[in-house]
Amino acid sequence: MKAKIFRITLIMMYIVGFVMCAYALFVGWDYYTLPFIERPHHEMHQQLKPGGPIGHGLGIAGSMMILLLFLYSARKRTKWLMRYGTMSHWLDIHIWFGIMGPLLITLHTSMKFNGIVSISYFSMLAVAGSGFIGRYIYMQIPRDENGMELSISQIDLTISGMEQLLVESFQVSPDLLELGSKKSGGADNKKTSRLMIIAHSIVADLKLPVQLYLLKKKILRKHNDVPPAVASEIMKLIRRRSIMRRRRNILGVAHSVFHLWHVIHKPFAVVMIVIMIGHIVVALLMGSKWIF
């Protein structure tokens, strides 16, 4: 129940965030699309310029979100924070900040990217972009409900549990399960590079819905007396089993790539935050005090 409330809240947060950003973009579109040299003559320049009440406010809000991103890192490393919420929820919030923060910062820049602070901005984009990749790689490592990684034996146990349920409870013939495992894709060849394996995994994820659809039709042809609800439950189990099996096969590679991803993601984040703080300090020194 808590998970559902969290999910709804998260969706609402995304909707509110995107609507607000879209509204800000809509209001300032005329200004943002003007050449830089003409902007000071625009009637909204004083409000929308990076140092204006609106522009600066967006910058402050975006910066706050960027800073709050680091709570996720703190959550991972600080014991007293571990008491609050699951890792996956923290990650979801981390991702929301990681999307909304850059959007607000982008509006704050008024699409004007120059000076040393642009390094921070582009680093931010790199962090955000790599975040999407990181999220995918993160998902390739099977975890429990609290977000804790499963061991190989736990994974195997989960897979065999699902197979047993399919064969014994749903009377699914083992050959179909085998077919399903083949269709689930995934590469587990030690000679293949790690990045290629991840790429294969992405392709397999994209192909999976089609394969499952074809399999469902095949099962229904063979067992035409299966009710749709049962068939749907069967396909869910087959899907989960297929994904789990693929992730089990690439678990080592996923661990390795995820570690490598951190190597890229974190330095960009450090560069971004250092320059951003420098930018804030300079802005404060130069008298940008927002509305205060």
Partner: protein, 497 residues
């Protein structure tokens, strides 16, 4: 070992990203101010760089008006003196300099742009209303270095004289050329309007020392106010100017030529007025000072009698009477030695009577004697009519008696021999007094009682086919030609009345 190796590789990757990446990205933006939000405009280009930030930004305060006004002293002065455009803007809305003069918008950014609300119509709100032609004049036609009299550089050394709007004052001569070269006071608006320089619509010549009256009002200004050349002027097009002062005007001849060549003195107004040169006042005009002094009846004439159509600058002929008068004699005296000069007979005291006396007449070919002397002139010099001409006859081709008188004898003495002329019997004294010796001059001498007989007893009055009067020729010499059988009586003859 593997873990150690993996950690080392990770550390190297991170170090590269943290150091190399910012370095590469900063190179791409090296041409820009590193912490500046954008390039300064060209006018503030010299203020680029980290060390210059605080020249405009107050630490912790931002770009303040005070910082701006530290350099822009002319603006500060206008604010302090509460005049000019900036005061107006500040009054309308309390705002900082950078609201209108934004920066960091790029080199080519136009730092000074007048708002659309500020037009020629609203220029008056800053203390100098644009009227007339000033309304259609471009801003920079006035606001240009050539019109800035004040030494702005001494006040604000960095001021751009091309772009500044400071330095003009409201006097006309701060922008306009001193057209009159100091001849007139510098109160241009006393004569000129803002609509146009020429003509000087507000100028009232009545306030000048020389009042314009009569025809002077219509004279083109340049007739009196001549064009001069300013030797100091370096521009040919603007070297000429009009003379307004030191124009002599005490006498008419200061401007007008004395066509009388001082014959009447220099006081032209005695005869002339400004209503027209040719409208001469007869009251004060002494015609006797002209080439033709008026005498006799000429003094009684009105000017127009001779000066038909008014006075003309054209010199009038006055040598001969006929220059004005027509020859009533139609050239009858042209053959005279004096060529028929009028004054030989007439004077200016009147055409009639003529001064031609009896003595003068007796100097002519036809001398007057006897009864002729008692005759009025018109008895002989009768009026002749020829077509449209009507004149008295003064020239006679036939100067004999019959030239004027009728032959009472019906050619009895000319048609038969011996021919007799009038003066053989008659004299100038009287027609009736006949000086005739009948014995000597006829073939019928009077004898006896015939001597006592009156002439008309024999030369009776007849009205016949060839005669209507007394019969002298032919007349019979026989008794019976006059007498009948009764002695003493005469026989009436044929045709006798």
């Amino acid at each position: 070992m593997d873990i150690l190796k993996q950690n080392m590789i990770s550390a190297i990757y991170r170090l590269m990203i943290i150091i190399v990446l910012p370095a590469i990205m900063s190179i791409t933006s090296v041409t820009h101010a590193q912490i500046s939000p954008g390039d300064l405009s060209t006018y503030h280009e010299a203020l680029e760089g980290l060390s210059n930030c605080t020249k405009c930004h107050e630490m912790g305060e931002g770009p303040t008006d005070g910082k701006c006004l530290e350099c822009h002293k002319l603006v500060k002065r206008s604010l302090d003196e509460k005049r000019g455009y900036h005061v107006l803007e500040k009054k309308r809305e309390e705002k900082q300099c950078l609201v209108c003069h934004s920066e960091h918008a790029g080199r080519d950014f136009a730092l000074i742009t007048l708002p659309e609300t500020f037009t020629q119509e609203t220029h008056g709100s800053i203390g100098y209303e644009l009227v007339g032609k000033h309304r259609v004049t471009k801003c920079r036609d006035c606001h240009n270095p050539a019109n800035i009299q004040e030494d702005l550089k001494s006040y604000e050394p960095s001021v751009d004289m091309i772009r500044t709007y400071f330095g003009l004052d409201s006097t006309c001569l701060s922008c306009h050329r001193r057209e009159h070269r100091g001849q007139l006071p510098d109160r241009c608006s006393g004569c000129h309007t803002m609509e146009r320089f020429k003509p000087a619509e507000l100028f009232d010549h009545d306030k000048a020392k020389f009042l314009l009256t009569g025809k002077h009002k219509n004279v083109d200004c340049t007739k009196c106010h001549t064009t001069l050349i300013d030797p100091k002027s370096k521009v040919k097009q603007t070297a000429s100017y009009t003379k307004y002062v030191d124009i002599k005007h005490s006498a008419c001849t200061d401007c007008h030529k004395d066509i009388h060549q001082d014959k009447f003195g220099q006081n032209c107004t005695k005869c002339h007025s400004t209503s027209g040169w040719l409208k001469v006042s007869a009251k004060n005009f002494d015609h006797n000072k002209t080439n033709y002094p008026l005498r006799g009846k000429h003094t009684l004439l009105v000017c127009e009698k001779c000066h038909k159509g008014g006075i003309s600058k054209k010199k009038m002929k006055s040598k001969f009477c006929t220059d004005c008068h027509s020859d009533l004699h139609f050239g009858q005296f042209a053959q005279r030695e004096d060529k028929g000069k009028c004054e030989s007979c007439h004077s200016v005291d009147g055409f009639k009577p003529a001064n031609y006396t009896l003595a003068d007449h007796n100097q002519s070919e036809f001398k007057l004697f006897g009864a002729h002397q008692a005759q009025p002139c018109i008895a002989c010099h009768t009026v002749q009519k020829e077509k449209e001409k009507e004149y008295r006859k003064f020239v006679f081709e036939d100067k004999n008696c019959t030239g004027c008188h009728k032959d009472q004898h019906n050619a009895q003495f000319t048609a038969t021999a011996p021919v007799k002329i009038c003066t053989d019997c008659h004299t100038n004294d009287s027609w009736l007094i006949v000086d005739f010796d009948h014995t000597q001059n006829t073939t019928y001498p009077l004898e006896g009682a015939h001597k006592k007989v009156a002439c008309n007893q024999c030369h009776v009055l007849q009205k016949d086919h060839d005669i209507e009067g007394f019969r002298y020729r032919p007349l019979g010499k026989q008794c019976k030609d006059c007498h009948d059988s009764n002695i003493g009586s005469l026989t009436p003859r044929q045709g006798e009345i």
